[in-house]
């Protein structure tokens, strides 16, 4: 059990998944509550061209991911204003364009080998600098979530009534998306472009089944994400499976386990849903 911990690459990988799992799990609770899961997936995919360019230029992936995610967010906002397109349509158009652009770049002869690590992540390749970035992000996310908590809660609860309480629902959306985008840009190194969304949606969706208060849900999601990340790395180490995919798999397993547990909990609390028209007794 402790043997893998002797390896420095494993120590860094573990630190990375625990840190980003904790931050991603907590942020993910708001993502799930706000119905932003699709936006999260879209943002993750649309940074692909930025990642490819960063890989070609040989600079840290974050330098490519950041401008790409800003560009994607702006493009989605602008495309949604075109009459008859709507938000979902705008997201779909922008994401396919960006992802296609990334694929075009990745398949060009000038691209370095190993581009698939951008898609599926290279969690065992994280550097000390990556771990330091993740640590800084966790601190940033913890402060931001603490400051924003009350306002996010109000805006998600009652968009119409929020302005009367001095809370702008639009600003709440933007703050959450910025936090999400930053998290994705940082976590993409380890989990890859296709799987990074798992850490922002899976643990939160699982925790949601098991808790009815936001702070408890966030703590639980953070813990579940860190746990699943660790389990995934061990699986990868011993079974020789791909790191990012193993972490994503562990997250899916956690989510699947949460479903019967959540059901059980609901029944024990007397919250069984009766079919329409049914009466008790």
């Amino acid at each position: 059990m402790l043997a893998p911990l002797q390896e420095p690459f494993m120590q860094r990988a573990l630190a990375e998944v625990v840190l980003l799992g904790a931050a991603g799990g907590a942020i993910g609770c708001w993502v799930v509550l706000y119905g932003f899961s699709y936006a999260a997936e879209s943002l993750a995919h649309s940074i692909f061209p930025g990642l490819v360019l960063a890989a070609i230029a040989g600079v840290p992936l974050l330098l490519g991911a950041t401008p790409a995610i800003v560009l994607a967010a702006l493009a989605i906002a602008l495309a949604a204003r075109v009459a008859g397109v709507g938000r979902e349509g705008a997201i779909a158009v922008v994401v396919t364009t960006m992802f296609g652009l990334g694929a075009l770049l990745a398949l060009s002869p000038r691209s370095p080998p190993g581009i698939e690590s951008l898609l599926f992540g290279d969690v065992f390749g994280v550097t000390g600098a990556d771990v330091a970035t993740a640590t800084a992000f966790v601190a940033f996310a913890a402060i931001a979530l603490r400051l924003l908590h009350g306002r996010l809660l109000v805006a998600g609860f009652d968009r119409g009534g929020a302005p009367a309480l001095g809370v702008s629902p639009t600003l709440a959306d933007v703050a959450l998306l910025v936090l999400l985008a930053a998290g994705i840009a940082i976590a993409v190194q380890g989990l890859g472009n296709l799987l990074v969304v798992a850490v922002f949606v899976g643990p939160a969706a699982a925790a949601r089944q098991l808790s009815e208060r936001m702070p408890a849900t966030m703590l639980l999601a953070a813990a579940l994400a860190a746990l699943a990340g660790t389990a995934g790395l061990y699986l990868s180490y011993y079974a020789g499976t791909a790191g990012g995919a193993s972490v994503a798999l562990a997250i899916v397993v956690v989510y699947l386990l949460s479903l019967p547990l959540g059901r059980l909990r609901a029944i024990r609390r007397g919250r069984t849903l009766l079919p329409a028209g049914a009466t008790i007794g």
Binding site: R146, G150, E212, R213
Partner: protein
């Protein structure tokens, strides 16, 4: 002498694009008054509430709001699986008075608990909001407005889906808040609820009438215009109902 109105509209029109959804709105709501916004669905009740909250720009006229408004939205639309307790919801009201970097602390939660006590829900404070009954949810939202120290309460169809005891309890609470000097605006399509208010404003895309219910609602022409010629149900004294088809009360409309 009546003080300055809490809300005053003069020739007001508003909507979601260039075409007004409501027009010709002219009324004043003063301290201690309950105003019913009466109309059928799509008549513009919610539009007027949104305009009072400052969400819509006037297309014509003016709408002056001189007090902090607290909203009591329809709870059917709020998500019942939202992970908050009754106390959490009441505590939301304290945000209005806090700078952005402060989150509600012990003092704010104590204020929220007092407000819940005030609406008779002290013992349900830790309960999940979505598990409360419709009437209890309305009272939690009223507690939120009290915590916010709103001098105007805006209620959107607060009685819909409530059983009779819950309705009566809510009505008594609203009357009590008005006696404290708050202004209360209640959007409703229910004539009986409108009758219980001090003032009624009939809306059907435009303002049909405004005044005390005894005057306004006695005019069947007004009712017909308000409900767009649809069937009007007039509640009788013992819970019975007299249903007047549009053609029937047309004849009586000339008498005024």
């Amino acid at each position: 002498m009546p003080a300055e109105p809490l809300i005053e509209a003069v020739g007001f029109a508003a909507g979601y694009d260039a075409a007004p959804a409501i027009s010709g709105v002219q009324f004043a709501l003063r301290e201690g008054q309950r105003l019913a916004l009466l109309g059928s669905n799509g008549g513009g009740k919610t539009t007027l509430l949104r305009a009072i909250l400052g969400e819509l720009r006037p297309l014509a006229g003016t709408l002056a709001v001189h007090a902090a408004c607290g909203t009591v939205p329809q709870t059917e639309r709020s998500r019942l699986d939202y992970p908050v307790s009754a106390l959490d919801v009441a505590t939301m009201g304290t945000l209005a008075g806090l700078p952005w970097w402060r989150r509600p602390g012990r003092r704010e939660r104590a204020a929220a608990a007092r407000a819940l006590d005030r609406v008779g829900l002290a013992d349900l404070a830790p309960e999940t909001f979505g598990k409360l009954s419709g009437g209890q949810r309305q009272r939690v939202l009223i507690a939120r407005a009290l915590v916010q120290d709103a001098r105007v309460l805006l209620l959107d169809e607060p009685f819909s889906g409530l059983d009779r005891p819950s309705s009566e309890r809510l009505e008594a609470l609203i009357a009590e808040l008005a006696r404290e000097g708050r202004g209360v605006a209640i959007a409703t399509h229910d004539l009986e609820q409108a009758r219980a208010c001090d003032l009624v404003l009939c809306l059907a895309g435009r303002q049909v009438a405004f005044g005390p219910p005894a005057e306004v609602l006695a005019d069947v022409g007004v009712l017909e215009a308000t409900y767009g010629g649809a069937i009007v149900e007039l509640p009788g004294p013992r819970g019975g109902r007299a249903i007047l088809p549009p053609h029937h009360h047309h004849d009586h409309g000339h008498g005024h």
